[in-house]
């Protein structure tokens, strides 16, 4: 029988009369409907659950594992958080620590975290689609879900949705948040924390109202062209300006500059000492004054040495005018009332030595290619237009240019920006994290007309910034307020009176934190009065010596007078007292030699304090904590006692371990430490 004939006969058989057609069609429909339960049966997650049962089958603890295993669709449901997470349907072993050796997903146990897995579910931290029960839909960006799993390197962003404070466990998030403030991101972009606090910059962009007195037009033009060519550590980004643009902006900046109230006229500017001996003396004065605690300088090996609180000084000689420098060193506030630089009480000779030293730090190559003819009014006008266009006034105070409002897009909710509203540059993977990373790395790759300048950032910094930005989600705004751990509100603390003037004059807040205000380079002083002895404080203010041998940065010597030191000490001893304990709780005069001996045993034995501290310089090797050779002269007995009992309550975040010492032990160790009044200088010197 030929094929067409066969087909015809089959057709005849199946659809020949209405009864067989009805039967045939019903049969076909039945088979089609059978697909439905079949698809239900072959769902992905059922396969994974079977796989899991096979995986635990041969293991030693198979019985207890299988008893804890629950088959079927699993979900973590928290209506108040809007959480419906079915991840545990396939990730069956998240809580099974005994499966730590299993490396295949979805069966790996979850690493230890401070939260319970059922406290917040999975998606609040990991993103992805919690309701989904297929691998593709749960993890990836699909047609019906935009938010894929957050790559592990940005995971700390999720912590930042609730934790607005600094967490020990989220270094990358902290770094990112710091960088947002430090690199001036927040000066153009408004970024609000979920608690409504607007982030503020922690950089100190100098005012430019008197710039002509400080530096030359050539330097400004060269700096604008590439700030990193002048100082590798400069925070100012590269605005990628053309030569005529740097020419016109520098012309405008010089033109808008007004003279400032100088010391000129009152006393002559000290002459710069340039001979070799003076240069050497200047170098040591730079070191002795601990300028490098804040300022960095490249050494002969090209390594950057020093702090980052002030600008790098490697090529300072090519930048500043000596008359300005003399004024600046005598009292920085006359030029910039808001500077972080303290008022050193330097005499004319010292100023001269430092000028000589800094002037020698010049680089003729830097200005070599910058030749500028006198500026025309048209150039000045064009320069002003450019300054307004580029938003220079977002950071710098400039005469005649107001600080613009909402200069750049607000980034408060950037972590939830819908992908549909993002224009991706070619080659950038279509995820939010990749977009933010690419935008930070190379802003102009998204279009040459964009204003955002080019930063010089390490890849870790880009990741940290992206992490901090990804924490700015819609979810962070809508989560219950009770979950929010607020950050520290910005403090506007100002100490009063004569001491307050001194604290302001020496810019203590640049490094020390008091009452929530100030930097974190040096110890917090909020409870300093409770902790130290007055006599020690006075001598320390007059001649600060380092307490921590491992630290290179230390407190500079401000050359304060006896009267000033006494005023400051009185104020600190009276005002900066902790309410946590009463100074009278411990009477050090009642310590017996037996107490001291017992304390010594505990110090070296039970608590092994010598691992981090030094009491006997001949024996002890601890370089982590402060040296304790004279601790009895420095700290009060009550402070030591309470510090030993619970240091975290006195200074949260200190590295001192929480000992939870009982009163007896703490009293003995205190007795031993209080006895350490005089440094065994002689032996140390011999050694």
């Amino acid at each position: 029988m030929s094929l067409p004939k066969r087909v015809r006969s089959a057709w005849q058989y199946l659809f020949g009369n209405s009864a067989s057609a009805f039967g045939t069609l019903s049969g076909v429909l039945l088979i089609l409907l059978a697909v439905v339960p079949a698809k239900d049966y072959f769902r992905e997650w059922l396969g994974y659950q079977k796989q899991y049962l096979r995986l635990i089958h041969g293991r030693g603890d198979a019985t207890s594992l299988s008893r804890r295993f629950q088959g079927g669709l699993q979900q973590i449901w928290m209506p108040e958080l809007g959480v419906v997470d079915r991840c545990t349907t396939c990730h069956t072993a998240l809580k099974e620590a005994s499966l730590a050796d299993v490396k295949t997903q979805p069966f790996r146990p979850h690493p230890a975290i401070p939260h319970k897995l059922t406290e917040f579910g999975c998606v609040i931290c990991h993103r992805g689609q919690g309701a989904a029960t297929t691998v593709e839909e749960a993890h990836n960006s699909t047609k019906s879900w935009e938010e894929p799993i957050l790559p592990a390197r940005y995971l700390e962003a999720s912590c930042g949705q609730c934790h607005l404070d600094r967490l020990m466990g989220t270094p990358r998030l902290n770094q990112g948040r710091d960088a947002l403030a430090q690199y001036g991101c927040v000066r153009c972009h408004t970024i609000k924390s979920p608690d409504g606090v607007t982030m503020t910059g922690s950089d100190a962009p100098p005012p430019l109202q008197h710039i002509a007195d400080k530096t030359t037009r050539e330097w400004i033009a060269a700096w604008l062209k590439n700030p990193q060519a002048y100082a590798g550590s400069a925070t100012m980004p590269n605005f990628q300006l053309a030569d005529d643009e740097t020419r016109d902006i520098s012309a405008f900046l010089i033109a808008q500059s007004t003279p400032y109230q100088t010391h000129k006229g009152t006393e002559p500017a000290p002459a710069a000492s340039q001979d070799t001996a003076a240069l050497q003396e200047g170098t040591s004065l730079y070191g002795e004054s601990f300028c490098s605690s804040c300022h960095a300088m490249q050494n002969t090996a090209g390594m950057l040495v020093g702090g980052n609180l002030g600008p790098e000084l490697t090529r300072a000689g090519s930048k500043v005018k000596t008359e300005w420098l003399a004024d600046w060193l005598r009292d920085p506030k006359t030029y910039d009332p808001d500077t972080r630089m303290p008022h050193y009480r330097l005499d004319a000779k010292e100023v001269g030595l430092l000028i000589g030293f800094l002037s020698s730090k010049s680089d003729s190559d830097f200005l070599g290619n910058t030749q500028l003819a006198a500026a025309t009014p048209a150039q000045v006008e064009h320069g002003k237009t450019l300054v307004i266009e580029r938003g220079c006034a977002n950071c710098h105070a400039i005469n005649g240019v107001k600080k613009p409002d909402n200069f750049a897009p607000e980034l408060t909710l950037v972590g939830s920006r819908p992908l549909e509203r993002i224009l991706f540059a070619p080659g950038v993977p279509h995820t939010l994290a990749d977009y933010i990373g690419a935008k930070i790395r190379q802003p102009r790759s998204f279009g040459n007309a964009l204003k955002m300048p080019q930063y010089t950032l390490a890849p870790q910094q880009v990741d940290a910034l992206a992490t901090a930005l990804l924490a700015q989600t819609q979810l962070a705004q809508t989560l219950p307020v009770s979950l929010r751990i607020p950050g520290r509100a910005p403090s506007h603390y100002r100490p009063a009176g004569k001491a307050g003037q001194l604290i302001d004059d020496m810019r203590c807040f640049s490094c020390h934190k008091i009452d929530g205000r100030g930097g974190d380079m040096a110890p917090e002083l909020t409870w300093e009065g409770s902790s130290v002895e007055r006599a020690w404080l006075v001598s320390f203010l007059k001649n600060p010596n380092t307490l921590r041998p491992s630290l290179i940065r230390r407190m500079p010597k401000f050359n304060v007078t006896d009267a000033e030191a006494s005023t400051l000490a009185d104020y600190i001893m009276t005002v900066y007292q902790t309410p946590a304990f009463d100074q009278e709780t411990l009477d050090s005069s009642r310590f017996t030699p037996a107490d001291v001996e017992h304390g010594k045993e505990l110090f070296y034995g039970k608590y092994a304090c010598q691992s981090c501290h030094i009491v006997d310089p001949n024996k002890d090797k601890g370089y982590i904590g402060p040296t304790l050779t004279q601790v009895g002269a420095r700290l009060t007995a009550s402070w030591i006692f309470h510090w030993l009992k619970n240091s975290q309550s006195l200074r949260p975040g200190t590295q001192e371990p929480v000992w939870n010492m009982n009163d007896e032990d703490a009293r003995a160790v205190t007795a031993f430490l209080v006895a350490q009044k005089n440094a065994p200088r002689k032996e140390a010197a011999q050694k």
Partner: protein, 247 residues
């Protein structure tokens, strides 16, 4: 076996209970057949007798029957879908996700509803075209044509109201655009839109209104008009099967 089954059935038909439900007797005559149709609430919508010619595929392409079929599928799938759906803003889209990922055969249920809805719109349109091009709207069937147009409108409204219920972006913007069209009506435009949406924008009230329209008001209206439609087919002389050629 077959005999005994037939016998049992015959016996069943003779019982008092059977006779109390189906009053027409069982028999081979046309009277019996006519009674069977006439005395049944559902069957009596259609004629007791129809021309064999009007049953052939060529005459109607079965478009009316197919429309009814999709309508029945939509009712049958719509009711279980209602069991899984809450017409509230926070829950509506999550319910779509549940149907997709957690409910047994939820995807099948939703897809069947969706595709049947599309098919119904197409079939009702095709039905009207067929009727139009064959001239079946002419007297005495002009009233039934009007009913048919009303049913087309109801079908479109059902489709439109159902489109909002998934509460996704597509739904939201489709209804936003659609309801903005309403406001182009002279004088009362914005008032009507306010009435339809229960507000000035597509929001929780609009969702609830559309849900009630989609699940209660419009299906009931459609059922009533379908009944009238079928009843009128009988009254207007059965399905139009073309001009009777005069010899």
């Amino acid at each position: 076996m077959a005999n005994s089954l037939a016998e049992q059935l015959a016996n069943l038909r003779d019982t008092r209970v059977w006779r109390s439900i189906f009053r027409s007797g069982f028999g081979p005559t046309n009277l019996h057949r006519a009674l069977a149709v006439q005395q049944n609430v559902f069957l009596h919508l259609s004629s007791v007798k129809i021309r064999k010619r009007s049953l052939s595929f060529r005459v109607t392409w079965f478009l009316g029957t197919l429309s009814l079929g999709t309508f029945l599928i939509l009712v049958a799938t719509g009711i279980p879908l209602m069991l899984y759906y809450h017409p509230s803003v926070p829950q509506a889209y999550a319910d779509m996700k549940d149907l997709r990922f957690a409910v047994s055969a939820g995807v099948f249920l939703r897809n069947l509803h969706r595709w049947s809805a599309h098919a119904m719109v197409l079939l009702v349109f095709a039905h009207l075209f067929k009727v139009f091009y064959r001239g079946a709207y002419r007297p005495p069937r002009e009233f039934n044509w009007v009913i048919g147009v009303v049913l087309l409108m109801l079908t479109l409204f059902l489709s439109y109201t159902g489109y909002l219920l998934p509460w996704d972006q597509l739904a939201f913007w489709a209804i936003t655009v659609g309801s903005n069209l309403i406001s182009a009506v002279p004088v009362f435009g914005t008032k009507i839109r306010f009435l339809v949406l229960g507000g000035h924008t597509v929001n929780a009230n609009a969702l609830l209104r559309f849900y009630v329209l989609h699940c209660v008001v419009l299906p009931l209206a459609a059922a009533i008009f379908v009944a009238i439609h079928f009843w009128r087919i009988r009254k207007d002389g059965g399905i139009y099967s073309g001009e009777i050629k005069k010899p």
